[in-house]
């Protein structure tokens, strides 16, 4: 089916609107092609599909945890129409060949766009720059580079990377974690880690790298993006840097907007994540930072792991939690229900701003002539998370059993209905 007429939808200003979709784009009457399917979106809010700049798809190498296909299915079930594949795969996405493979897998499934992020250094070992231009000039057109999972800890390597990506308007997305201060670290260092006897991960290990990289980015006038900010101190560093005009942007994950380190007291490794869950005052600072724009975007850090990697001793368990399918609900709960921002502002942080930051030109805007990457959400309904029915191949969600507000009902990617909660997203898959 090529054309859609979506009627009775509410836009982000609360206005009733009618949307026409033909040939993958939002069109006006002149370009609307017959025949068409009609969708009555009574009660649903329409917005541009969400854009994630931080996703672990695990393919190639760990297809037992997730694949490009299953991550894409999870993405559209969460209202995302674009993912950014982190390079910590096996092999590492540090060459044009690997990033093209991931990009083409995404294209061939056709469920959502999968844009690879390239590794900054060869093998993510932090020593030698990977061939960044080759990845940028590949079919995958990589602009974001990250050693995510590892910090680019060597200040000289970081400086060179920041300088080098200016060659093609690229950006370095830093996983800010001083390795020496976090050797074998297990959870946020503080009252709870002291009580539980789990090795602490101090806030300063994150903030010291953020501070250093802000100074480096300022010095070489380059673009720096801070991955998954988690501390109040980190928010303040980014706020001050922006006031000085440094080209720094930052992201926060949904889980760091809601969960705290108290959850580690269960010793349930579902709550083990890198960077770790922090304190309630950090959560509040992150929320304020996202509301006032200090933190530019929400990114999921969707990190699937097979059951055995979590069903074990905390020390032995893998870091990470899945998040694509719950991201909007968690953000709606943390930011909109709490009165800190409007749905329209949340949409900016989850769609338009990340699309602009990553230069994903087909995403982040709902307008005539633009690609029809659209999500329809019921803000008045709630749903109960059941890990077993999530689309992701892995089930390591911290929200299992929770009742969450806001239900993603339908997702369109390039004008194709790729997710329909009513028939579980079979069409187009």
């Amino acid at each position: 089916m090529n054309s859609w007429l979506i009627r009775n939808a509410r836009d982000l200003q609360g206005k009733n609107i009618e949307l026409m979709i033909s040939n993958g784009k939002v069109v006006d009457k002149a370009d609307f092609v017959q025949p068409y399917s009609e969708l009555d979106a009574q009660g649903l809010t329409v917005m541009p599909g969400f854009v994630d700049l931080h996703t672990h798809l695990r393919e190639p190498g760990r297809e037992d945890a997730e694949t490009v296909l299953t991550a894409s299915q999870a993405a559209v079930a969460g209202g995302y129409t674009a993912l950014s594949a982190m390079p910590n795969t096996l092999p590492v996405a540090d060459t044009a060949g690997v990033v093209e493979q991931v990009y083409r897998l995404g294209q061939s499934h056709g469920i959502c766009d999968v844009f690879p992020i390239g590794a900054v250094t060869v093998g993510q070992s932090g020593e030698q720059l990977a061939e960044l231009v080759a990845m940028n000039q590949s079919e995958a057109r990589v602009r974001i580079f990250s050693d995510d999972g590892h910090c680019v800890a060597d200040p000289l390597v970081m400086r060179r990377a920041l300088e080098y990506v200016k060659l093609f308007d690229g950006v370095i997305a830093q996983h800010a974690q001083d390795p020496r201060l976090t050797e074998n670290a297990q959870m946020n260092e503080g009252e709870v880690s002291a009580r539980l006897g789990l090795k602490g991960w101090p806030a300063v290990a994150e903030e010291a790298i953020i501070a250093r990289d802000i100074l480096l980015a300022e010095h070489v006038d380059s673009r720096l993006h801070i991955c998954h900010l988690t501390t109040a101190g980190g928010v303040e560093l980014v706020r001050q840097a922006k006031l000085r005009g440094v080209k720094v942007t930052a992201e926060v994950t949904p889980h760091h907007l809601l969960l705290t380190d108290e959850l580690a007291a269960t010793y349930d490794a579902t709550y083990k994540v890198n960077p770790p869950l922090r304190t309630e005052s950090d959560v509040q600072a992150l929320r304020r930072g996202l509301a006032d724009g200090t933190i530019d975007i929400v990114a999921t850090d969707h990190a699937p792991h097979p059951q055995e990697a979590k069903d074990c001793e905390w020390n032995a368990a893998a870091f990470g939690m899945i998040g694509l399918e719950t991201a909007f609900s968690i953000c709606y709960l943390s930011m909109v229900k709490s009165g800190l921002m409007s749905v329209a502002e949340l949409s900016l942080r989850m769609s338009s701003t990340p699309a602009k930051l990553a230069r994903y030109s087909d995403h982040g805007e709902l307008a005539v002539g633009r690609s029809a990457n659209i999500v329809l959400v019921d803000l008045d309904k709630s749903w109960k998370v059941n890990a077993e029915t999530l689309k992701s191949k892995s089930k390591n969600t911290p929200y299992n059993g929770m009742e969450l507000p806001a239900v993603v009902e339908k997702t369109f990617h390039n004008g194709v209905l790729v997710y329909d909660r009513m028939n579980q997203g079979q069409e187009g898959v």
Binding site: A194, G197, L198
Partner: protein, 320 residues
Amino acid sequence: MRDLLSINDLSKDDALEILDTAVQLAALSDSSNRKFPTLRGRTVVNLFFEDSTRTRISFEAAAKRLSADVINFSAKGSSVSKGESLKDTALTLQAMGADAVIIRHGASGAPAQLARKRWIDGAVINAGDGTHEHPTQALLDAFTIRRHLMQDKGDLAGLKIAIVGDVLHSRVARSNVLLLQKLGAKVFLVAPPTLLPVGVEHWGAQINFSIDEVISECDAVMMLRVQKERMEDLFFPSEREYARNFGLNAARIAAMKGSAIVMHPGPMNRGLEITAEGADSKKSVIVEQVANGVSVRMAVLYLLIGGATSRDLTAQIGEH
């Protein structure tokens, strides 16, 4: 109470009941009858993922004196060393029908996971997990302090107890801080700042960087084992500097109150945290702690899987 994972699982009354029961069991053990039929037919598994001869044999002796069948499952030479998961090990023990699993594990929280995920139906008793807790050690320490300073009666209100050494890595310290304060004692933590966890100020104990500031007012001084490899991790510059500033030596023993006692959970590093004079002084109750450990662990097993309270004890033993 189903499991004993942390001192936080115990109310003050629960703790006192364990101590009172241990007092009774110790008295009975001193008489000619050293074996009770209480746990006949019950199976107790010692699941030890870390070497700890003294804790294992203490639990083994306790279970055997209560007539339980004891299975020792040591990680060395077992399937664990071949990479079997905690879950599969637990399921194996479950299939064998363990009524209680006494677990020692290098990872903090491993006993809590066993209990919470209910891979095992039996009671789970924490015999030391990582740097988290060692509740039966704290109970035997409280028993020892109460025996010497409170005539085996009531709580520890009014007593001042110093815990000295590597608090950061010590499960003994964590359990003792919780239990001793629950029983009304005032606790001093004495350590170099590097060996105190960030967040220790929430524990309610008084922090001191100098042992000499507090030693003369304490009723008990508990020395913690300091592992020599901590020096390589930059926690202190040298063994000599540590021993000079935090070791229990003859001069410090001399500064202690006449009634005060010296404790150590073992194994000791003689010459590091405690000198031979300290370990062997008349104030030392270190060997006695070991004997008390058996009584306290008997009490824990009795109350946890014997399905009884301390009031039943005399009656039950009287039947035989």
